[in-house]
Amino acid sequence: MALPENGRSRGYLAARGFRSWALTLDHKRIGALYLYTTLFFFLLGGIFGLLIRIKLMYPGQAIFSNQTYNVLFTLHGSMMIFLFIIPGIPSGLGNFFIPLLIGARDVAFPRLNLASYWIFVAGILVILGSLIRPMDTGWTFYTPYSAKTGANIALLSFGIFLVGMSSILTGLNFIVTVHKLRAPGMTWHRMPLFIWGMYATSIIQVLATPVVGITFLLLAMERVFGIGFFDPAKGGDPLLFQHFFWFYSHPVVYVMILPAMGVISEVIPVFSRKPIFGYKAIAYSSLAIAFIGFLVWGHHMFVSGMSKTASIIFSFLTFFVAVPTSVKVFNWIATMYKGSITFESPMLYALTFISLFIIGGLTGMFLGALATDVHVHDTYFIVAHFHYTMMGGTVMGLLAGLHYWWPKMTGRMLSEKTARWGWLLTFIGFNLTFLVQFYLGFKGMPRRWAEYPPQYQTLNIVSTVGSWILAGGILVMFSNFIRGLFRGDPAPANPWKGLTLEWQTSSPPPEENFGTVPVVTDWPYGYVKRKPAGDG
């Protein structure tokens, strides 16, 4: 990352050279490495997404073949999920800001932290290596198709196994860090809400990720040794894979969204200059979501052939995730009541998060209810729904966090004007791309279709044009990041006048974060009664 000049401190960025990054034990550098890596796959996955949309403008073979299309949507989904959204906020922003927000000098196990980054990279290299014969299974790898297709599924499984192991180690590290390294005086109820979100996330990572590791191991064994766990001809059960897969992949949805909710809980009070409303409810709802998240995986399988009784129970349990989630939304809105609100780019992204995430959440109601899910399952309705929760939710949360913490991470400010243009284009493009897909799905267009009957074309064209505007917004945004990295104005220690501990050290922070370890005497959201620290 680039550096302030004119005699200002370069902080943790002082050392230069490859070794100073590759072998660093500093959680901030490791966080930055994760951010660079995951954002790269966000852009790559985004390019695949654009190609998918271009193909779907014309339902023929004009652009590229159906097989290429199948490979592209598989790569789009897998990279976005396994290499961007899951590790993005937890490993990127989490690594960077957990120690800063709790007043610690580093995470509990800095060497383990470095190891988990390089295990992540090793996993990526294995995955990329397996693409010599590109996979065409979709990111869900359902058997028996995944056991039969020509791709290197066994090698790929090993790559995902490694990425998962990295995720477990990071979660473990964070749990210990939060338990053992909080600054003097920081009780559990004085912890920033981002920490609560990350803590709940880490519990899911540690408990759920081993299951996906084992699942992919079984899949690899199925392919290499032909054991037949999932093959009915050998007495196996094709649905068993789906149960295993969703037992991980549903909880992991909350690995994606809880950290983003944590970011929003930090940004809203700062830009409203108002104490967060219902602190305890927001904090404990994160744990509630993490817990309930383990009990609902079957709602991905209502039409799979699973028993009807199981479907009914899973539907019932699924709806209870909606309650702690809506509590958070109501509390964020209530925080704005009688505030003194400003609309710098982090706040714009935070408000966008709320608006889009509500659409994602409410359309989830149609999927939790049995009768309606049967109709829209595996159609574009699902595609729209999860893009609203994952891109409208998690990605907007990540962007809110990036814009909010950019000055702290790099010691430089972003251009506010460019940031707003990037936001506007992203917002318009996103809605144009995905809103129409709800209707396409309701009208019956299945997902993962390379071709479709003519009645679906008009809305597909709208969606594709939307994807170009969205890409334009992302392009403007990233040009701002790159410009900000090298030529942004020097950032003060506390540009947004926040009260959390990271703003009480210089921008960028020194190697061990704080000159003297801060002593905490109050929660971090008392905006009315306390004066902000720092030189803001």
Binding site: V303, I333, K338, L351, A369, H377
Partner: protein
Amino acid sequence: MTNAFAGGAAASPSAWQIDAVFLFIACVSLFFFLLVEGLLIYFAIRYRRRKASEDAALSDVRSNTLLEIVWVLVPSLAVLAFFTYGYVVFRDVTAPQPGASDVNVTAGQFLYEFKYADGRTAVNELRVPIGPPVKLIMTSRDVIHGFFIPEYRIKQDILPGQYTYLYFQPDREGTFDIFCTQYCGVGHSNMRAKLIVMSPDAYSTWKAEAEGAKAALPLFEKGKELLERFGCLGCHSVDGSVKVGPTFKGLFGRMVLLEAGGEAKADEEYIRESIVDPGAKVVKGFPNAMPTFKGSVSDDDMAAIVAFLKTQK
């Protein structure tokens, strides 16, 4: 470009029931959406900072127990209503219907084969009369497929080595789409079939004609009918366009390049081999995706298919 809003209307009583659940959830959700979005926009405008000096909020409210209890209870009641209504309708539309006529469905990459009780079979075309409910008894011969009739609002995955079931009651004449909704490989998006709902009279006439007409057809026309019946034309076009497999136009007698290298002449023997052992000589540029038809295409059928291909110059 065609009208995006045409088609897809509910086409059975159970579809209307499901649409009613949709409407109910949509109305309640819309209420919450407008409430939250309205408050967000109202607060954003009403409480925006007007002067730089107003660097503190008007209020220090940190919680309100009564308010928080209300907004735990209200969403809880709403989701309980969603669950209950969704469950009741689901129970009704998936319940076995007495007096249903059975149709066996075998799905495979990338077609549906329908087998009626009286021994007739058809590929990618399911004809039923208006009136009696239909029970589909479904299994797959390879990977997982889906069976989706959008206008009936029903869907069920089809698994290898296991039977799944789907009920519907046709009460309106018409032709309805059947889509595969579980990704099943390169031909997934071409795995489509038609449900044709006929009046009881028309149905029995068609049934009689279908039996009678078969013998009288000239060989090449029988071949064309077979290609349609076996679903070949889902993947192979006759007009030169490229689908999952190579086109039939101008195929017969030509030399074709092979994926494994070399070339082969598309003669009678090559066509027979490609039907019973499709992986043996895969045409260059196409996936080895075709299932074998060994055992389902008789020698007479084979002859008719070859006769038809010869007509496709």
